[in-house]
């Protein structure tokens, strides 16, 4: 019973809006009243009123008769008071009685009594009508045409009269005809997929022409938030979304690589490019020093346990093809509902679900190849020999007793002296002449290159020799569909990547079944299953391997006469004849087997009960079963420089059973303009881990790598063991979201979590959050500029979020097992020793986060802009505090200190050209600044792996001595501080051509005290731009990612890039720029066989990680529908495409990968490049088929 409908056929009173509102109110009152009585039947009326308002009398009649009244407020007001006294009369009698003498009449239609003024009565309504059906209103036909912005007609556009079920769709010409009540309040809702919906007030028009605009800002998209969904339009916190279409067509092993650059403030670092390798996700900066820095990943409501793993990426287990959408909750007001582990941001992954309709089969095939990019430019044979000569000449010149003096009694030593002269001079005049030794061959070579060396014919490019063209295949098959009762999505996928190094590779078989069953109108249940099997072959010595590859001299032979890799890399003969070190051939790395196999099954069982209108109870039970096995084998044939390798095998199995149960009530109601959404829930989880580890040595043969073959268990205690560990967490949470007319928004949430990881006094943490938003564009004062700014929303949020990302049992003391042999045999006696200090006050690390953002749609949604500012303060950091060693421990974990991140994020989406040819652009840019505010009482810097963290400065500054070019000449040496001047052993190593460093502390000596911060690993900003073009069936997408600034320290590359030792290979940028007597203004120190001046010039190894990378180009062609239909294959869609990943990397960075991050997600060591797997360019071709 909808009273509004009755209005439409009523004669139109000329009333103001104000009156209309009041009328509605009255109507509601009446409606409410009649609700209570309508069940009653017809009855006799008894009334006894004296001078009562008509309204009151009507109410009494209503009560007794069960008939509704409908009239305007004006009528009631003007009618004046009524005096009536009747007993057991009919309804008609009673009505006549009370309207007697008033300018009013009535008509009964159905069970409604309509009271009208006599004069204004348009229709002759008589009592005869009582028994008749209500008169249909005069049909007013509304015609219209709907076109797009180019004026092209749009068909199948839905046109609906607001608040009714009256509607139609447009025909081929975009036309529609609709019969509507003749009422100026008729509002048409016009909507079509891909276009922005519009509401049109019909008024008195009968011909309506509407232009629909393309949907770009996605304001009507539904966004997944914690424990629910929300329209993007109604979001009041910082959430970024990516949808399936942005994830497809890229042959990548995990979703993180696919979303790289898609969201402002979310930085994806491919810190290990090896197949299956780890991807760092940093959302709004690093927030913790010793606890986890990984975002929480929640898949279909299931918060996953795995964090970052550089070698094996746990994200790989999630098949990107199954993903419907990814939401990143960046600020506390959105993520605090996941309190416990939310402080590094939350990534919500929603997988594809079944949908109503016939089964739809989708097949996607992608296959391609990949090749190394960013090779380092190493010397070829000819230049390498020159460089060796130079290094020896430098060693010789440094021996010159004249060097730095002008002794006329001694011969002048020249860089260009012949070998014979060098030997003669050195053995006769050098103060180190005894070094030459008797017979001398060994030390001679310090100063000249042997003919054997020079005669080597080999000119190997080791980077080419050790890498190959890799390949990628990605095959995805899925089907989905459903009926009213069952909806399903089933998929199977195969992904394979054969790396550019022979021993690397990754493949994954993944399956998913998402079922949803509607049991009855109040109960829904479902099961989501996602098993996957992954195989990963890991390269031996990931960092070191590529260092070896670039440093091994080109003159070393790669293969022996039989074509087998010559593993020791020597030229036949005594290596000392060459005076070159024994390099092991990097091709030998392929002999080491390191296979990791992971089986993982994620499952979710849920039930959802619709309790009453708007109130839903949902219960989810998630489990993860993960079984991981590593088999590692170094054969005895594996060479190393010292020949100390024993054949060794290792087997490591870990399994995890993790369950998580969540139940929550959701209440969702809209009253007029007031929308409420509230949840109240509870969650509990337990994860238990078990592991087995065995390693054995000494295989009689290299053919069988299993451990049954091996003979020796080296350390019975540590080499054959099992371990167990478990953790639990309980949480309860509540959230209320309210908005008024999509104009004013308020959200508040609170979560209370308890974790087994913390001390008995501090197990629980409470994490509140608030946010508010204001749609400015809906205010009346805004209407004048609304045509330019279509939508403008300002939002702000504050919240506290927690971090419990530390190992288990850190608050408890333990006994560690150890052993010692007390007798003559090999019997180990067990020992137990305190392993950890208990800290019962160990508690939550929490981050307070404030975010303010503006979202605007401009110029008919041609442009949409989002700007966010955030300020995030981490307090009570989980900090591994150093203890004096006399306590028996190095450190223990306490809650100390604070750190902040703050920054801006900008996002701009534009539709540049719209028409047959479409061009749209998405651009985002973000930056943040980090500062460590407080490290507790202990103000000492935290120095780890060439990184320096101290209070008042950003995390992990790159740390070392600052190189300022070589000493030009003796004058320069004598007038500047020299290296280790206080150490006679080293001070005489400072000479023209050696490293000159900044004397940071100004004490006139360059030593370990002159380390300084050389750079910051945080980029100045990161940005990304995606351009999409479509023309008829052709689509082209070009994504460019960029990083501006951010320093990397190539710690391992000193001898390769800035301080050659005269034997390993070096890069051309060094070769062309090092000091020689004829090049004293050179940039780098001279290479020398007498290199050790006791310093390490990290300053030359700092490089900006700035790059611009054409990350993805996808060019696709969708066959026209007509051709597909003609083919008769029953295809719905067929598209071919070609894609190039890392198409063009423009960078000055000299290493293999400007995103490398050696220490993974360690906050104290960032931007360290110690080698690592090179970047690759992938070219692939694919096919999307929809059946």
């Amino acid at each position: 019973m909808n009273l509004k409908v009755h209005y439409y056929w009523l004669p139109r009173p000329i009333i103001s809006k104000q009156t209309l509102k009041i009328m509605k109110l009255v109507a509601i009152i009446l409606f409410a009243a009649c609700m209570q009585v309508s069940a009653r039947g017809y009855s006799q009326i008894t009334l006894s009123e004296n001078n009562a308002p008509l309204q009151k009398v009507f109410k009494k009649i209503q009560k007794q008769s069960g008939y509704d009244f409908l009239c305007t407020y004006e009528i009631l007001k003007e009618a004046g008071k009524v005096t009536i006294n009747v007993r057991d009369v009919s309804l008609q009698k009673a009505l006549e009685e009370c309207l007697k003498g008033k300018p009013l009449t009535y008509v009964i239609i159905g069970k409604t009594i309509v009271v009208q003024t006599k004069e204004k009565d348009y229709h002759t309504v008589s009592a005869d009508l009582v028994a008749l059906e209500p008169l249909p209103p005069p049909p007013v036909e509304i015609h219209g045409r709907i076109v797009n912005q180019q004026g092209q007609p749009l068909q199948n556009v839905s046109v609906l009269i607001s608040g009714t079920k009256i509607g139609t769709t447009t025909n081929n010409d975009g036309r529609f005809t609709l019969t509507a009540p003749d009422d100026k309040n008729v509002v048409l809702e016009i909507s079509s997929v891909g276009y922005q919906s519009k509401k049109i007030s019909v008024g008195k028009q009968t011909e309506i022409n509407v232009t629909l605009e393309l949907e770009v800002s996605g304001l009507s998209d539904v966004v997944v938030i914690g424990y629910g969904t929300q329209k993007k339009r109604d979001i009041s916190s910082a959430i970024s979304s990516v949808f399936a279409k942005d994830l497809q067509d890229k042959p990548v092993s995990n979703f993180a690589q696919a979303i790289s650059g898609k969201m402002a403030g979310v930085r994806i670092l491919n810190s290990n490019n090896a197949p299956g390798g780890g991807t760092n996700i940093v959302i709004r900066g690093i927030n913790s020093i010793n606890a986890s820095n990984d975002p929480l990943i929640v898949i279909d409501g299931f918060p996953l346990k795995d964090g970052f793993d550089k070698t094996e990426n746990p994200l790989n287990a999630i098949n990107t093809a199954d993903v419907e959408s990814i939401e990143v909750l960046k600020d506390a007001s959105s993520s605090a509902i996941y309190g416990a582990r939310a402080s590094n941001g939350v990534i919500l992954i929603t997988t594809k679900k079944g949908k109503l309709g016939k089964p739809e089969i989708s097949l996607n095939i992608n296959s391609g190849f990949e090749k190394m990019t960013n090779k380092m430019h190493m010397l070829n044979r000819e230049d390498f020999l020159k460089y060796m000569d130079d290094a020896r000449a430098q060693a010789y010149i440094v021996e010159d007793p004249n060097f730095g003096t002008n002794n006329p009694d001694l011969p002048q030593w020249k860089w260009t002296d012949s070998d014979e002269t060098r030997i003669y001079n050195w053995s006769h005049f050098s103060s180190n002449a005894p070094f030459m030794g008797q017979g001398g061959t060994y030390y001679d070579h310090w100063i000249w290159v042997t003919p054997e060396t020079k005669a080597q014919p080999y000119d190997n490019d080791w980077q080419d020799l050790t890498t190959k063209v890799g390949n990628v295949q990605d095959i995805q098959l899925s089907t989905r569909g459903g009926t009213d009762n069952i909806k399903y999505m089933i998929s199977g996928g195969y992904f394979n990547q054969g790396g550019i190094v022979k021993s690397t590779g990754y493949n994954r078989y993944s399956f998913r079944a998402n079922l949803e069953i509607k049991i009855n109108d109040w109960l829904k249940t479902g099961l989501l299953l996602a098993p996957s099997i992954e195989n990963l072959d890991v390269m031996y010595n990931l960092e070191g391997a590529f260092y070896d590859i670039v440093t091994i001299p080109p003159i070393y032979r790669a293969y022996d006469d039989n074509g087998n890799p010559e593993f020791l890399g020597y030229i036949p003969g005594d290596y000392r004849e060459w005076n070159l070190p024994a390099y092991s051939n990097p091709l030998a790395n392929d002999l080491v087997q390191d296979n990791r196999r992971t089986f993982r099954n994620l499952s979710t069982l849920f039930a959802e009960i619709n309790l009453t209108k708007g109130l839903t109870f949902r219960s989810e039970f998630h489990t993860e079963l993960r079984n991981w096995e590593r088999n590692y084998f170094i054969p005895s044939s594996f060479p190393d420089a010292w020949s100390t390798t024993r054949s060794m095998g290792l087997n490591n199995i870990t399994s995890r059973l993790y369950w998580n149960s969540q139940s929550f009530l959701t209440y969702n109601r809209t009253f007029d303009k007031h929308s409420f959404n509230a949840i109240l829930g509870y969650s509990a989880e337990e994860s238990s881990d078990r592991s087995t580890y065995i390693s054995k040595y000494d295989y009689p043969t290299d053919r069988v790598p299993t451990l049954n073959q091996a003979i020796t268990v080296l350390n019975a205690q540590s080499d054959a063991r099992t371990n167990r560990s478990s953790e639990t967490m309980i949480g309860s949470f509540a959230r209320v979201m309210y908005n008024y007319n999509s104009k004013y928004y308020l959200t508040a949430s609170v979560r209370r979590d308890g974790s087994s990881k913390f001390g008995e006094n501090k197990k629980w943490g409470v994490f509140p959050s608030f946010s508010a938003a204001w749609r400015v564009s809906d205010e009346s004062f805004f209407s004048s500029i609304k045509q330019y700014i279509n939508d403008l929303k300002i939002r702000a949020g504050w919240g506290t979020i927690g971090n419990s990302g530390i190992g288990n049992y850190n608050s408890l003391s333990t006994l560690n097992a150890t052993a010692y042999v007390l007798g003559t045999g090999s019997t180990l006696s067990p020992g137990y020793v305190d392993g950890r200090v208990a800290n019962s006050n160990l508690g939550w690390e929490s981050s307070k986060d404030f975010d303010i953002g503006i979202e605007a749609d401009l110029l008919g949604s041609r442009i949409s802009v989002t700007v966010d500012y955030f300020y995030k303060l981490t307090e009570d950091m989980l900090f591994s505090m150093p203890l004096p060693t006399i306590t028996g421990f190095n450190s223990y974990m306490v809650n100390i200190g604070s750190m902040r991140n703050r920054g801006f994020e900008y996002m701009l989406q534009t539709r540049n050209i719209v028409g047959n040819f479409n061009w749209s652009t998405n651009f985002n840019l973000s930056y943040y600044k980090n500062r460590v505010l407080n490290t507790g009482k202990d103000k000492r810097p935290l120095i780890a792996n060439n990184s320096y963290t101290v209070e008042g400065k950003p995390l992990a500054g790159l740390w070392g001595m600052d190189f300022i070019g070589p000493y030009k000449d003796w004058e320069d040496v004598k007038t500047n501080p020299i290296v280790n001047a206080d150490n006679p052993l080293w001070r005489d190593r400072s000479a023209p051509g050696t490293n000159k460093m900044t004397d940071v502390n100004g004490d006139g000596v360059i030593n370990g005290l002159d380390n300084t911060i050389l750079g910051s690993p945080n980029p100045d900003f990161i940005w990304s731009m995606t351009n999409n073009f479509t023309y008829k069936g052709i689509d082209l997408s070009i994504q460019i990612n960029g990083v501006q600034g951010g320093d990397h320290l190539m710690t391992q590359m000193e001898s390769v890039m800035s301080k050659g030792l005269g034997y390993g290979n070096v890069v051309y940028s060094y070769f062309n720029n090092y000091w020689r007597p004829d090049r004293t203004d050179a940039k780098y120190a001279a290479p020398t066989r007498k290199s050790w001046d006791g310093t390490s010039d990290r300053g030359t190894l700092v490089f900006k990680g700035t790059y611009v990378n054409i990350q993805n180009i996808v060019l696709g062609y969708t066959l026209p529908k007509s051709i597909i239909q003609k083919s008769g294959l029953g295809l719905k869609n067929l598209r071919f495409y070609a894609s190039v990943r890392n198409a063009l990397m423009i960078t000055d960075y000299p290493g293999f990968n400007p995103e490398v991050n050696d220490s993974g997600n360690s906050s104290l060591s960032q931007g360290i490049d110690a080698g690592g797997y090179p970047m690759t360019r992938t070219v692939s071709f694919g096919l999307n088929i929809l059946l």
Partner: protein, 485 residues
């Protein structure tokens, strides 16, 4: 139905989790509070005190450093600051510091546990007292090394209930450490440890004995320049046989053989066992440059014997001790002579480069005790003293010397010949006050194979002690650094 069903589900999920759900104890380790209930449990705590010895005496630890600091050895690369005494405050060898304190902390913990333990009977009482004696011995040994390497060090004899109370503890003078910890501990160990050969430790020769306590105590008194007390202490061992029977092994070359572990001459050994995964890599790192020549493989050769020592062997006609102790290299090529005592014979050494060997490191042996006793007696009774020197010499077919020839220089020579490469030389030189003189002489003369001169001026006396680890001073800034650094 609907309501019942949802209430049912809610009850299931809410009832599952009580407060105890969050109390998780480690499943694969013990907790200190619930262990150590029997003598067998206590023994495991004592074993944990022994264990750090292996990391202290692993080849790149104490032996490597201490031999290089003496005039007996150096690095073939001739650049280590240990050898040339160009140390600065970064050369503190904090690993040694850490391991010794780990030993001390473990000893403190188990001693406290034993003190609280009530033995059920006399046998148990005897057993746990022996454990306490051993823990005390090891604590004393750790402090004895610490004060000789670092000088004054923090004195810790109790476990820290609150680790923060360890800050600001400061350094205790060496003599206080001797008098308050080392001497009482060693005396307690002498009272309570088993004797060598006692049935209780018949199969556990690596455990500390009364004899070990006496010998180290004698060494402590000698180091404290208290010859009388040293003589008195060592007399108990050598003359009174208060700690059981000790005698020199007849064949000098067989003292270190793995088959002769814990032999009659052995007093305290660091036990290595390759099959138990705790092999000694002494031969690989200290001697393999020599092994290279025999096995044709590449070696690391971190360590080289000083020519000075080789010359002294030759000069005094020390045939047996020379052959057993060092290798002189080959004639046709300059080679790095190395310590041989603790390694398999050279042709075999290469077989152990991957597994390590079973060769033990002897902290002290009876010959050391005899020579110390002689040194202690020397001022008061040279005639008696020379008997013990000659007893040691006789074993290696060296002629006896006269009491009149006995002096400190001679004692140092005897000790150098007998104990070369066993980690005594440096401490001997320091305690006799000869360190600066002897070591400087070595470094300032053309005294190695390449006739290098490493110093033009004597070594600085302050460098006889290592700097206190800078990392420790950074953690606790009340800790002072040794003078000079």
């Amino acid at each position: 139905m609907k309501k019942t069903f949802s209430i049912f589900i809610m009850v299931i999920f809410l009832s599952g989790c009580s407060k105890s759900f969050l109390d998780r104890q480690p499943e694969d380790t013990l907790a200190p509070g619930i262990f150590f209930k029997t003598p067998a449990d206590i023994k495991t705590g004592v074993v944990a005190v022994y264990q750090p010895l292996q990391s202290i005496f692993r080849v790149d630890g104490l032996p490597f450093m201490i031999e290089q600091m003496s005039d007996d050895g150096g690095s073939p690369y001739a650049r280590t600051v240990w050898h040339t005494f160009y140390k600065d405050n970064t050369n503190s060898n904090s690993e040694l510091w850490n391991s010794f304190y780990k030993m001390i902390v473990n000893a403190n913990n188990i001693i406290e546990i034993i003190d609280k333990y009530t033995p059920k009977n006399d046998a148990e009482s005897r057993e746990v007292n022996a454990y306490k004696g051993e823990a005390s011995f090891l604590r004393a040994l750790a402090y004895f090394y610490l004060v000789r390497i670092y000088g004054d060090v923090p004195m810790v004899v109790k476990s820290f209930k609150d680790p923060l109370s360890a800050f600001g503890i400061g350094r205790t003078p060496v003599n206080d450490i001797y008098n308050k910890v080392v001497i009482p501990d060693l005396e307690y160990a002498f009272e309570n440890c088993y004797k060598k050969g006692d049935a209780e430790i018949a199969t556990e020769g690596a455990r500390a004995t009364k004899g070990a306590a006496l010998t180290i105590l004698g060494k402590v008194y000698l180091t404290m320049q208290n010859q009388a007390k040293a003589a008195e202490t060592l007399k108990k061992l050598i003359v009174d046989k208060a700690a059981g029977d000790y005698s020199l092994l007849a064949d000098y070359s067989k003292i270190w053989l793995p088959v002769n572990k814990f032999n009659s001459e052995s007093i305290f050994e660091i036990n290595y066992n390759a099959s138990a995964g705790t092999g000694s890599y002494y031969s690989r790192n200290m001697s393999i440059a020599v092994a290279y020549l025999y096995g044709g493989k590449l070696g690391s050769g971190y360590f080289v014997v000083e020519k000075n020592l080789m010359d002294e062997f030759a000069q005094y006609g020390e045939e047996i001790r020379y052959r057993v102790s060092v290798d002189s290299g080959l004639a046709d090529r300059l080679i790095q002579p190395a310590i041989l005592k603790l390694s398999p014979p050279l042709p075999e050494a290469v077989n152990f480069e991957k597994t390590g060997t079973d060769y033990n490191y002897m902290v002290t042996r009876y010959a050391d005790a005899l020579l110390m006793y002689a040194e202690a007696l020397m001022p008061s009774d040279p005639t008696e003293a020379v008997k013990y020197v000659n007893q040691v010499r006789a074993r290696v077919s060296m002629p006896p010397i006269a009491a009149s020839d006995l002096n400190l220089t001679r004692m140092l020579h005897e000790r150098r010949m007998e104990l070369a490469g066993e980690g005594h030389r440096y401490f001997d030189l320091v305690r006799t006050g000869k360190a600066v003189e002897y070591i400087s002489k070595d470094l300032m003369s053309n005294n190695d194979y390449e006739a290098r001169v490493f110093r033009s001026e004597p070594i600085p006396a302050y460098q006889l002690l290592l700097p206190i680890p800078v990392t420790e001073i950074e953690k606790d800034q009340t800790l002072t650094q040794n003078a000079g650094y």
